[in-house]
Structures are given as structure tokens and as C-alpha cells.
């Protein structure tokens, strides 16, 4: 999900039509959660990742669990980590495919993304197989852009919570919020390209290049911009509180805190963040939004109450959706590398290549499909 494309084009009203008067009377505003309060806390705005980080710190200190046999705590934390990887992280890419193939309207609308853009990953994949040196470059580009992708998604979901709860931002405020988050991206990305020791040399068996170092002055500028935008954002929140008596919704604040922690933390803390956040923050929040969208997209035309539709995500339709994306995630990230390994390719290399290809398509497609400017998308997302 790409936040930069999520912008209101005026007043964001209530969800339109389709619901009976009685239901509207009972549930007069947009549903304030993506799925439900507890689910959202753990899987959408970072509660699960923060809870695991705390548990990790309490039982293992400042280190990532390094083996299931090292201690019972490591066993549990790694098990949760592995499962979250398969259930949320690997699978969330597939949710993009269900979005662009989900309905006739979406298939027609995102024709480019499901045809030419998808086809373009095939030569990319073949190039990676035939010129293994390229895989390192592909993965390196993924590592440079992945934090931007996380932040953009976090911004988009934070805005959804704001708008669902009537915390409207005017254009200037929205831009301050956006550039505050992007300044963190700029800072972390430039840091990554400036200091060799912050850029991994090998990523799960794939040797990586280092496209730097950039002049250090760029790093200082990025840091200054980040501090400046942080101050501007805090002033914005305080001003909004004192002038409009409105506090930013706490789910939005937690999202901002989690994603900032992911980018700004260092050394062991950063490793710990990157161990838990892909599954319990980024992947799970993406799946929650997509699943709610998928179910609402089908339910709303029939005039179902969005409050109940969203809750049905935890029932059979939601589980079927989850099952499908988990299976396809397993196919991409385990099945394909295993198959190529069986026929003589290096498993780590193919896994890196799949990651790069899938995410290249995922990042670009996300920028197109999650636009709050688009009335239909806005109506469903904010319902």
C-alpha cells in the first residue's frame, strides 16, 4: 500500500447507500476499525510486534533468537516468527493479486498491472537465473526500497484510522504528515547508502553489492530534514489539539511509532524490529486491509451493514481468503525455490530472486490500487 497516493479529494463523507435505515441508525458512522479492536491492536497497528519485542527483551535481552534449541523462550519466539512469516509476510504479496484479479471491474481497471507489469517479472526472473550476479543487485534494490514501502503503507493506514474517526487533515497538515514520514525514509535510506557497516554484505546467502558511499554531507542534510519534519509534525498535532480539541487517533499514533522505531532503531534493536515487524505489522496489516476490502467489496452492493461485514472477516469468508493467500505465499517463497533447487540451482539465490521479482510487482501495483482519491476505493476503505 502506498500512502502517497492516499489523499482525500475533499470532505470524506459517510459510506453511501446500500444500508438500511435501521442499520444506519444503529451504526451512524464509518466502522472505526479495520477488523475489530483486539485484532487491529495486535495485527494492524503494531501491538503484536511491540509485545513480541518486549517479550524478546525480557527473556533474551537485546538479541534476536538464534536457534530453536537455545532456550524455551527462543523456541517460542522463533516459532511465532516462522509462523508469522508464512501466515502474514509471505502471503501478503498474494493479497495484491486477489485485489487486481478480484472483480471484473478491477481486472479491467488494473489490466496493465496484471498483464504487462506481471509479464515483465518473467524476463527479470530469467535474467536472474542466467546471470546470478544480478540477483544481488535486485535484492539490494529491494532492500533500499522496502522501508519506503513499509512507511508508505503505514501512512495510508494511519490516514484510514484518522478519517474513519473524523480526524480530518487539511492539505497542508496532510503534507506535513506525509513528509515527516518520508523524511525518516530519506534519512534511513541515505544512511544505508553512506555507511558500509549498515549495509549487509550477504542476505540469506545472496551476496550484495554496496552502491556507495554517498558523501556524508547528504546524511547530515537528511538527518536535519528528519528532525525538522518531526518538529513540524509534533507542532501540527499540538496545534490541532489546542485549536480543534482533537487528538490524533491512537491507532495512527501507534502505527507512526512502530514504523519510526523500525527505521530509527539501531544494531540489535533494529534486527529485532526487522524480525517481528514484517509478519506482525506490515504483512498482517496489509492482509487485514485487503481482507476487509475484499469482503466489503462483495458485501456492500447487497446492502450489508459494513460493521458486520468487517467482522465477518474473522469467519469463514476471511479464513478462506487467508487460506488462499497463505497457500500462494508458500508457492512463491518455498515452492519455487525448492523446485529450482531440485533441478540444480542455488536455493538462496532463487529465493532472493523470487523476493525481488514479486516485490517489484507488489510495490508498483500497490501504488496504483490503494488510492483514497479514487471514490470507489475510498468508499470501501473507509466504510
Amino acid at each position: 500500500m502506498v500512502s502517497s497516493s492516499i489523499a482525500s479529494s475533499g470532505a470524506l463523507g459517510q459510506p453511501e447507500g446500500g444500508q438500511s435505515d435501521a442499520v444506519q441508525a444503529a451504526h451512524s458512522g464509518p466502522y472505526p476499525w479495520i477488523i475489530s479492536p483486539i485484532f487491529d491492536f495486535f495485527f494492524v497497528f503494531g501491538g503484536g510486534a511491540i509485545a513480541l519485542l518486549v517479550l524478546n527483551y525480557l527473556y533474551l535481552g537485546w538479541r534476536v533468537p538464534d536457534g530453536v534449541m537455545t532456550s524455551p523462550a527462543a523456541w517460542w519466539l522463533l516459532t511465532v516468527g516462522f509462523l508469522s512469516q508464512h501466515i502474514f509476510a509471505d502471503s501478503h504479496n498474494s493479497a495484491t493479486y486477489l485485489r487486481i484479479w478480484g472483480s471484473d471491474e478491477d481486472r479491467a481497471r488494473f489490466k496493465f498491472h496484471r498483464t504487462w507489469l506481471a509479464y515483465s517479472t518473467i524476463p527479470m526472473f530469467i535474467m536472474g537465473l542466467t546471470l546470478p550476479g544480478l540477483v544481488g543487485a535486485f535484492v539490494y534494490i529491494y532492500l533500499i526500497t522496502v522501508y519506503w514501502h513499509y512507511v508508505a503503507q503505514a501512512f495510508g493506514i494511519a490516514l484510514i484510522y484518522c478519517y474513519k474517526r473524523g480526524y480530518m487533515l487539511n492539505n497542508i497538515e496532510k503534507e506535513i504528515f506525509r513528509w515527516f514520514l518520508f523524511s525518516i525514509v530519506g534519512y534511513t535510506t541515505i544512511r544505508f547508502l553512506t555507511y558500509r557497516d549498515l549495509s549487509p554484505r550477504n542476505w540469506f546467502g545472496v551476496d550484495l553489492p554496496f552502491w556507495g558511499p554517498l558523501p556524508e554531507v547528504l546524511f547530515f542534510i537528511a538527518r536535519f530534514a528528519c528532525v525538522g519534519m518531526t518538529i513540524a509534525f509534533v507542532v501540527l498535532l499540538a496545534r490541532k489539539y489546542f485549536k480543534e480539541n482533537k487528538l490524533m487517533p491512537w491507532p495512527s499514533l501507534m502505527i507512526v511509532a512502530t514504523v519510526a522505531g523500525l527505521g530509527l532503531s539501531q544494531e540489535a534493536a533494529n534486527s529485532m524490529f526487522w524480525f517481528y515487524v514484517p509478519g506482525f505489522f506490515h504483512g498482517s496489516q496489509y492482509l487485514a486491509v485487503c481482507m476487509a476490502y475484499y469482503i466489503k467489496e462483495r458485501g456492500m452492493p447487497q446492502g450489508m451493514d459494513t460493521w458486520n461485514i468487517t467482522k465477518s472477516a474473522l469467519g469463514s469468508p476471511g479464513m478462506k481468503y487467508l487460506g488462499l493467500v497463505v497457500l500462494s505465499g508458500c508457492f512463491f517463497y518455498i515452492g519455487i525455490p525448492h523446485f529450482f533447487n531440485q533441478i540444480g540451482f542455488d536455493r538462496a539465490l532463487v529465493a532472493g530472486l523470487v523476493l525481488a521479482c514479486v516485490n517489484y510487482h507488489h510495490f508498483v501495483t500497490d501504488a496504483a490500487i490503494w488510492r483514497l482519491r479514487d471514490p470507489r476505493c475510498r468508499k470501501i476503505l473507509l466504510a
Binding site: V68, L78, V326, L327, I334, G335
Partner: protein
């Protein structure tokens, strides 16, 4: 699929006189597809290719020249075939029992209760390696009976589709000929140490060493039943002027070849047999059933139309969705779970072998319930 359940209630009888059934397809899919994927063409073609290039030696993809390329092609084929047909065919059983509310209720025992038994067995195997050995050993024998059962069932479909009906005693002769063959092959594994592997993909197997006389008895029964079967076929030809259908004969010879092969030949057929004979034929029948069942929801005419244009239906959106789900779920079960458990110290191949045994117990038992030609709806769809 279990052959013993493929039977009609009474005497051989013609198909019901319905206009649409008069033109029901004589094939599961079509002549070429069936030749390659249903009654053994692909298996024996690949087998011949390997023997032609490598004689009775192991293939070496690292070898130079055409031999190396052919070895690589064979390696690719067996790996790809496993993903496409072997791993996925077990999942087709689940699609069958979970596909509709009617099926879920009808096969409640198999859909909601028996899977827990497989899970329990798998957990036991993870905890006690001896349990894993026993499960895999049991599977090793049961699997051949399962192959024979499925072959018998599909061969009957060809017979009935072509109007080659059996009287009850003829069908029983055929059935017991097949059963006697299973018994003979299984008894060899039970009695001869050299035919019972000590270690299968990292799983230590037990060996109970039953008396050799058991093989002699089963061999004698098999020979008698084979003679009875041949006599029955010849008699049917002479009296009724009906020849057993060629696909049925091919199926019988294929399964005889698999069971009677020894040494390197046996190793080769067990590499290519699961994907290109057993798995592919199961998927062809299951997917056909799924599509025809969907067609039947519209009308009998639509079902018959699906049956007549099966190849084009095999690439329809509904079939693609079916393929996608069974392949992905097969990968999840046979690659994803072993991959996850490898983090906990369980060998990848070991886990995959144990999963195969535990899942297949459920698959074997469930197949016995879901593919019954006695069941009128099942029969109508299978023969459409």
C-alpha cells in the same frame, strides 16, 4: 481411488437410455490425453527414454553431451511431474470431500474426523522415530494396493463407457485377479529382506520377515486368478464378440509392469509412476468429476457437454482455479511443512516421507468411500 468400490449393483446392464448419455465420451478426457496421462503412455515413454540413454545405470545430469542434457531433462520432468501431479493428487481428494455442502455432510467422517487421526499419527511419528518407521513401512505396502485399486476402478470406467459390461461373476474374477496381484507383490515385501528397504528416504524401516511360504501361496493364487481372468476375457470375446477395451488392457499391463519389475527397473517406475501414471490419472478423473459435477448443477445436458469437451474444459477458469489450488496445497503439504520443520531439526526428506505416509492413510481410506460406482450420482458423473 479404490477399485473394489467400482461396481454396479447387479448384472451387467446397458446405460440408461437418455439422449445425452448416448453420446457420452468414450474417454476420460480425449484419446491423446488419456494415452499419455491416464493409461500409462507417459510413464512407459519416459521409462523407455531413460533405458535407451542410460540402460540400467543411474542418470547423471552432470554428464557431458546429449547424455547430460537428457539426464537433466529427465530430472526436470520427474521434479515438475511431482509438483504437478503427484503431490497435488492427494489434495484432489480434499477438494472432492469439501467442495460442496452436500459432500461435506455426506463424507463427514472423512472430512471432519479422520484428518485428526492423520495429524495424531504424524505427531506420534515426530515424537517416536519407531512410529515413523512403522507408518512408512505400512504405507509402502498399502500404496501398491491403492495403485491397483485405482487402476481397477479406472479400467472399469473405460469398460462401461464402451459398453463392455461384466456379469457379477466376471467382475468378481477381474477384481480378485487384481487383488491377488496386490497380495503377491505385498507378500514379497513382507517376506524377502532384499525387497524391503532398510531405510526409505532417511526413515528406518522395520522388517518382520514373514515365512516365505506366504509368497508361494499368493503367487499360486495370482497365477490361478490370472488364468481365470484370461479365460474370462477370451470367453467373452468368443461368446459375446466383445474385446476388452484397449485402455483397460494398457492399464492392466502397466500395473503388472510396476508390480513385477525388480532392481533398477523398479526404481525407475517408482520415480515416474507416481506423477505420470497414478497422480495424473487420478487428477484427470477428479478434475473431470469436479467439472461435470458443476455442470450437473446447471443441467444434465450441460454435464454431458462438459464430458464431451473435457480437454477444453480442463483449461477453463474453473479448472485453472482447481489446478492452482491442488498444486499450491500440494506444495504446502509436501514442501512447506517439511521446510518449516527443518528449523526444528527434522530432516526435510524424512518429514516429507512421513507426511506422505500419514496423509495417504487418509487418502486411501477416503478414496474407498468417495469413488463408488454403486452410488448413482457418482456413477452418472463418472460415466458421463
Amino acid at each position: 481411488m479404490v477399485s473394489t468400490t467400482f461396481q454396479f449393483d447387479g448384472d451387467a446392464r446397458p446405460a440408461p437410455e437418455r439422449a445425452e448419455e448416448k453420446v457420452a465420451s468414450r474417454w476420460i478426457v480425449n484419446p491423446v490425453f488419456d494415452t499419455v496421462f491416464v493409461f500409462g503412455g507417459a510413464l512407459w515413454l519416459v521409462f523407455a527414454l531413460q533405458i535407451y540413454w542410460f540402460h540400467w545405470d543411474t542418470i547423471d545430469p552432470a554428464a557431458g553431451g546429449m547424455a547430460g542434457s537428457t539426464a537433466y531433462f529427465l530430472l526436470f520432468l520427474s521434479t515438475f511431474g511431482s509438483y504437478l501431479f503427484a503431490d497435488s493428487h492427494t489434495i484432489a481428494t480434499y477438494v472432492r470431500i469439501y467442495s460442496t455442502e452436500e459432500n461435506r455432510q455426506r463424507f463427514k467422517l472423512y472430512a471432519y474426523y479422520l484428518p485428526w487421526l492423520s495429524l495424531l499419527m504424524f505427531s506420534l511419528c515426530l515424537i517416536y522415530p519407531k512410529a515413523a518407521g512403522f507408518c512408512v513401512y505400512l504405507h509402502l505396502m498399502w500404496v501398491f494396493q491403492h495403485y491397483v485399486g485405482q487402476t481397477f476402478g479406472i479400467s472399469l470406467i473405460y469398460c462401461y463407457k464402451r459398453g463392455y459390461f461384466f456379469k457379477p461373476w466376471e467382475r468378481e474374477t477381474y477384481r480378485w485377479f487384481m487383488h491377488s496381484f496386490s497380495a503377491y507383490v505385498i507378500s514379497r515385501i513382507l517376506c524377502y529382506r532384499e525387497l524391503s528397504p532398510d531405510d526409505l528416504y532417511g526413515v528406518k524401516l522395520p522388517f518382520y520377515g514373514l515365512p516365505y511360504q506366504l509368497v508361494s501361496v499368493t503367487k499360486f493364487v495370482f497365477i490361478v486368478m490370472a488364468l481365470a481372468f484370461v479365460t474370462m476375457v477370451v470367453r467373452k470375446y468368443l461368446l459375446e464378440k466383445k474385446l476388452i477395451p484397449l485402455p483397460t488392457l494398457c492399464l492392466i499391463f502397466s500395473i503388472l509392469g510396476i508390480g513385477l519389475s525388480t532392481g533398477m527397473a523398479n526404481s525407475i517406475v517408482w520415480v515416474y509412476g507416481p506423477p505420470f501414471f497414478h497422480g495424473s490419472q487420478y487428477l484427470a478423473v477428479s478434475l473431470g468429476f469436479y467439472l461435470k459435477e458443476k455442470g450437473l448443477e446447471e443441467s444434465r445436458g450441460r454435464m454431458a457437454e462438459v464430458g464431451r469437451h473435457m480437454l477444453s474444459e480442463f483449461v477453463s477458469p474453473a479448472a485453472m482455479k482447481y489446478w492452482g489450488i491442488v498444486i499450491m496445497a500440494g506444495i504446502f503439504v509436501y514442501v512447506g511443512i517439511p521446510n518449516l520443520l527443518a528449523n526444528y531439526g527434522y530432516g526435510f526428506v524424512w518429514t516429507a516421507t512421513v507426511i506422505q505416509a500419514c496423509i495417504n492413510f487418509h487418502h486411501f481410506v477416503t478414496d474407498g468411500a468417495i469413488w463408488r460406482l454403486r452410488d448413482s450420482k457418482c456413477r452418472e458423473i463418472l460415466l458421463a
